[in-house]
Amino acid sequence: VTGPLDFDALASRKKLESIGNVVLVGSGKGGVGKTLVTCGLALSLARRGLRTAIFDMDVHGASVPSYLGVKPPVRSSADGLEPKRKEGVAVMSLALFTGENPIPVRGQSKQGLLTQLFSLTNWGELDYLVVDLPPGTGDELLASLSLFGHKSRMILVTTPSKDALGVVARLGRLARAEKLSVAGAVINMAYVRGRSGKTFPFGRPDKTKISRALGAPIVAELPLDPDVSSKGISKVLASDTGISQGILSLSRLVMKGHDRRAGVPKRGNRRSR
């Protein structure tokens, strides 16, 4: 044999054997709330005692670490790079190696970087890996399909804005063309709750129309809630808010019909399942 052996891909496949379910959170559009949904879903699953991690696949605009308040440095052990922990959720992101520096890498390098980071991370055994995808349908999305395709489902995130919806619908079409199941869609910034009740910054969302455009059931409508910025997602989830109710519906959908431990063999029981 001559030529490079892709041992990162082989190592990634082995890591994936210990992960039960992969949920890709994507939109195709920037600024619609993918990271809010990713972090909310992961924290919600972890609060149910499920072994949960977040893989931030946004190369150029990684924001999961700052969203959850986890910081460099990363430690390594005999088992690989140790993810950061936030309330039971393991977190790995390129931003944990680059801090505030921009990551000016070209397309071809991105898939390699993400595959390497996934394969080097000590994820342990997981019930759920929640993946925060960047905007667009380019390298990072294609890398996620290569890494997780057969084991993953997608959650689409949109706002009710007509412009956002058109872009998110494109991602939905690509996902279906790639035979990826789109489990549901979240409408973010659906309303703002004020003293006089709900107001709708993008107009009242037509759920039937949005669902039809995205080809997926609407699982939650999340408000634009300033408390997410001021208090943090963790505190918002802990109280009875539109965000916490919506994320609860989403986590129920994600868990529905799935063996929570599917694909995660118990130690010493690998062959009997």
């Binding site: 190592a11 190696f97 680059t98 921009p102 000016p104 890498v105």
Partner: protein, 145 residues
């Protein structure tokens, strides 16, 4: 520690290739280690020797070669090597270095493709650069029978 993980991956990949090819045994493996990763080659060699216990791999001749790093600028076309790069890598913030149990390593030790984050063109200062050689670790050649 990272050398041990790499050795494990090489051994598993070699086993995988041998199985795919239906080979009885691996005669030799040639590995190129990019200088940018700053791996300890003797440590990698020792780890490989310790891990190659499968009958198909035992006795295979292992050659590990260090490949000098060479970079080029996509804007002005300048080329430079590890000496210039080392000066810039010395400036990487302490909090971005990975904490190993007995050492502290640059992020590039694990993720060499991140080099444009830390290395700029010494001539024009752009981060729009590419590695011509010595960036990664590659199993260059494997002979089986």
């Amino acid at each position: 520690l990272h050398e041990l993980g790499i050795a494990q991956n090489i051994v598993e990949s070699a086993m995988d290739e041998a199985a795919k090819a239906g080979a009885r045994r691996v005669v030799s493996i040639e590995i190129d280690v990019g200088e940018l990763m700053q791996l300890e080659i003797p440590v990698l060699e020792n780890a490989l020797a310790a891990l190659m216990v499968d009958p198909r791999l035992r006795g295979a001749q292992v050659t590990v070669r260090s490949v000098p790093a060479k970079f080029s600028c996509n804007r002005c076309g300048s080329e430079w090597g590890m000496d210039e790069a080392r000066q810039q890598l010395g400036l990487v913030a302490e909090n971005l270095r990975v904490q190993e149990p007995d050492s502290v390593e640059l992020p590039l030790h694990f993720l060499p493709s991140l080099f444009p984050v830390f290395l700029k063109c010494p001539s024009c200062g752009t981060a729009d650069t590419k590695a011509l050689d010595g960036e990664s670790i590659v199993v260059r050649r494997m002979v089986m029978e």
